[in-house]
Every structure is written in structure tokens, then in C-alpha cells.
Amino acid sequence: MTSPTLAAGVAPRPLQHRAFLFGGMDDFLSRAVPFVREGLDDEDRSVVVVVAEPRLSALRDLFPDCADDMFIDASAFYAHPVRTLRSYLELVKREHPLRVHALAEPVWRPEWTARETLEWARYESLINEVFKDTGASALCPYDTFALPPQILEHARRTHPRLVQGDAERPNARFAAPEDFSAEVDRARVFPAPHESEYLPVTGHDLHELRRWVGERSERHGLSRQDAQNLVTAVNEVAANALVHGTPPFGVRLWTEGPDLVCEVGDNGYWNTFSPLVGFVPPSSALENGFGLWTVRLLVDLVEVRAGWDGTFVRMRLHR
């Protein structure tokens, strides 16, 4: 269980992260097949293919000698951006010292809200940060025939190199992960709920808060496990606010369509806030940022708003 990526004395190996803008199956295969073959021919690399159907089956048929577990259905892999990033990191660690050579097609769903789409764009951007020294190579296919222009624009903002047709070129529109994440954060809106319940947090004992959140989670139809996860997340954010924030402290809870939303607020100004905080998986529980990262794993979406009027952490779970 050692950290393989930064073993002592080993020079960091840069990440290759490219967006592959293709149109149609033939165009896809003309580039994807040589990419997979390149990885298979290099004994220093471990190949993984995470793409959506029908492209997954097409590739599988072209590489009949390859182990079945090399092929992963993207529609199952991309379920929750923070968890997917964690799983990817586990994969990279497991394969070490081999370098992961991934054909990785992010899934985009038309039913997603603008917010969810942005979080997946952020995920693509975070790849640059999280895997920067692993020597991994990722080619991320984007279907230009099917995807809306906004998603293709995200692809250009989150990949330092672009592959299109026969050409590969550096991408001038690429934004550093920290900048892109800040951009994503600026695009958020925080509508005040029409109706909400509020619990002021006055003491340091959070037992009552947990009970309050637990009862409401159950009443609003969260599963037992989701309720426990939300309680754990809210408890962590509130404990953190009590240590670092400024009174008054409080928790607001409401429903928004299919979601249960819980926001912890305090009056303090989080002046060291970084847009990447809690997104990069810490290597152990002893590292800074473990708490917020765990909170991000436990619920569907965490939005931190550190403004002049206070610090607010909004946690959202699908009911």
C-alpha cells in the first residue's frame, strides 16, 4: 500500500492527456486502434479501454486476444466525478510500476443539469493535476457528431493537447486546473430556497445536529446509507466550521426537486480557499484536505462558497 507515484529517487513522469475529437465510427477506430496497439506493444504500459457502446464492442472485436477486464463500459465507470477520480487513481497505483495507457471516453448525458455537466468538465480538468507525475497516457474521445458545442468547448479547456483527423497539436485554449475550477465555481448560482428548515449550531457538541439531519433525511426519503453519509458529511463540515469559522453557525435543509440539500454556514471568510480543495485525493487520512475530500465522496455534490458574507458549504443528495 505504498504510494507508487512519487517513490523516492524516481523522476516524475509527465502525464499525456489528449482530447480526441472524432466524427463517426471509422474516424474513431482510425485513431483508437493504433493508440491501443501502441500501449500493448510497450511492455512498460498497462492498457485500459473505458469507452461507451457501440465503440466498446467494436474495439473488443478488434482485439480478441486481450483480456476481457481490459475493456470497461464507460457508462458504468463514470457515475460520480469524485469517486471516479478516486477509482482511476487506485487503478494507476495498482498497475504501478507499469504506466496506465487509457483510452478514456467520458460519458455525457443529455438529462444532466448544467451543474452536473460542469462537475464532469471539472473532473476532466482535475485529471491534469491528479495524474501529473504518473507517466500515464490518456486519450479521451469526444464524438463531435453527437455532443453539444458546449461540451466540446469544455474538452478544449481541459486537455493540453488535441487530436483531430491525422493531426495532433498543442491546445492554446487549455486552462490550468486551478483556473478552470475557479471558472466552474464562478458559473454557479446559489438560489435561496423557498422554504427551508434552520438549526442554529450553538455549542460544540454536534450530537443534536446529527439527530436533526438524520431525522430529516429519513423523512425526506433518503436510504439508510445515504442518510448516514449525509449525517457524516454535515457533521464534518460543521465540526470544521466550529474550528475555523466565525459565529453564528447554522445548518439549513430543504428539498429541491429530487434532491435533498443541506447547507452549513458560518460568518467567517475563508481567505485561503483554493478551488481545488478537497478534489485531489489525499494519499492518507493524515494529509490535509482529507475531510473535505471525504465529504465530496459521501454526497452527490458539494459546493463551497467562500465569500465576503461568510462561508457556505452546500451538500446535495439525490433522494
Binding site: 500500500m1 469517486r83 478516486r86 487506485e90 460544540h204 457538541d205 454536534l206 450530537h207 446529527r210 439527530r211 438524520g214 431525522e215 433525511s217 429519513e218 439508510r224 446509507q225 442518510a227 448516514q228 453519509n229 449525517v231 457524516t232 457533521n235 464534518e236 465540526a239 466550529l242 474550528v243 489525499p282 494519499s283 492518507s284 487520512a285 493524515l286 482529507f290 475531510g291 475530500w293 471525504t294 465529504v295 465522496l297 459521501l298
Partner: protein
Amino acid sequence: MQRASLFRHRAYAGRVRDNLDGQAMETTPWFYERPVSEVRPGDHGLLGYADSEERDRIVGPYVQAGLATAEKVVYITDEPAESLPGLRRCSFDLAKLKSSRQLRVLSRRDACLSRSGAFEPGKLADTLHREKESAFGEGFRAVRVTMDSTWLMSQPGGSDAMLSCEDRLDQAISPSTMAMGICQVDVRRTGARQLSALRESHEVLMRVDAEFDDGILTIRRIYGPFGLQLRGELDASRHSHLSEHLLRAMGSRSGDIHLNVAELDFIDIGGLNLLAQHAAALPHGGSLILDHLRPDVENVITMVGWNRLPRLRPGARAGGAAS
């Protein structure tokens, strides 16, 4: 103590043993677990100890509580009074206690052996009856009896002898409004079958007193395996208490430390961090082992990955025998 739980429908609510009733029988063992300070007349308790510290932490307070109040203590042993748990380096005047008959240290020969040295259940019954009957006239409000029965194992027909001994004790104590007894057995020298037969003949299992209990979190030392039992909810307000008792436990033994978390309803993320910090400080590569983790509590650990909690390991699975 009845705990307020985070959610209304706790499947494990029946594990709170203090309000044992017919409905809770499915999830509740039929015996009570009793911290030594809560022992009461009519209790015939089994103390299966895994080491002498555990025995001393139960028998000591049991004996002392009796001597500190108007209760008679009957200790059947061949050891001298000064070396017994609760009486070593104590502030009691043992000679005075003996002459007032408040402390009765009876040898096995006097209490329960025949002339030839064989265990005689009938003689034990007579002894207990005599001590109990005289106590009231001597001005004592209750009688506390204890005996280490481990030696019976080496007697011919050891198990049967021990069980008949238990029968006698039970007859003498359970119906009584003034007698209580603790049978001590060294579990390291007792077979699994003998131990389960012994458990069946007692309705009370003795436990050491909690080291910390604020109604939300209970911390108790456990033995076999050695460590702490955590009940209730662990959060930032209680980290320093856990830290204190964990450090004490770590200081008294080398090797792995077990945390029995079967009845831990909640652990906060800072609590995981705290456990990882202490695990990292264990000497000789020892681990902190979490036994009987409930799935809804374990979820947060599987979510972050055990690999991010170095030297913290899952132990016995939930639902296994409580230690």
C-alpha cells in the same frame, strides 16, 4: 442506558440490554452484561477473564465496594487476603475486617473440599448458606461471594464438578435479596465447550466498568482480544477522551490493539484521522483492528479506502460473537 439514536428505526435497538424484554430476545443474548459497579443482589455473575488485569479490574472494585459499605465479602481462595484483588495495597484494616466477620477469606479446604481434598458441592452449599444466614445477624445488608473456579478444571470430572458448583451457587444466590456472587474462570485454561456451558449457567456476564461514558459515547477496556469497546457516537467533542484511553491501552500492552465497534453508531471523519494517527504511533508495526464494524459505519471507510488509513485493519466481521 437507552440511547437516542440518529434514526428512528434502528434494527439494532434491541442490543441495548438494560431494558431486556421478550421482544428484544431475537437480537439480544439471554444474558445480561453487567459492569461490576452495577452488580446487585440476586446476580450470579460469570467472570471469564483473559488476563489478571481484567480479573483485578472486576474483582477489585467488587470486593472494595462491599467492604466500603455495610456488606459482607466472602472470598473462597487459598491465597492470603493481602494478595487478593482489591485488598492489595488497600487502605482497609484487614485484621479488623476479619474479626468483625465483614471479610471472610475461606480456604478451599474449609469451604468446599472433603477430607481427602476432593471438591464437595454439598459442602460449598452449606458454607454459603451459613455465611449468608449469619450475615444479617452480624449487621450486614448484603453478602458478596466470589471464588476462582479455574482449579476445578483439573479435578476428576472437572466440567461436571464445575457445573454442579455453579448449580449450588445459583441456588444460593439467584433467589436471594441479599446475596450476589461472581465466579471467576481463567478462559485461557478453559475449553470452548466448558466455557459455553458455564455461560449457560449464568445469567449475568461481568464486565469492567466503562472508563468513559457521557451518555453519547462509552469507552470500556476489553480483554481477549485486548483493546477498547466503543459504544454510541464518536465525534470531535469526544476525540480527546478516546485519545486518552487509547494511549493508556497502548501503553499497557505491545502489539495489536482491538476496537470492538459492534455498537458504534457513528464515527466522524476526524475520528478516522485520529485512529490513523494513533495506529501510526503503535510500536513494532502493530495495527489498530476494528472488530464488528457495522456496514453503514464501514461504508465511509470503504469509500475512502482502507489504504488511506495506514495500519488500521478490519477484524472480526459484524454479527460475529461479541468479545
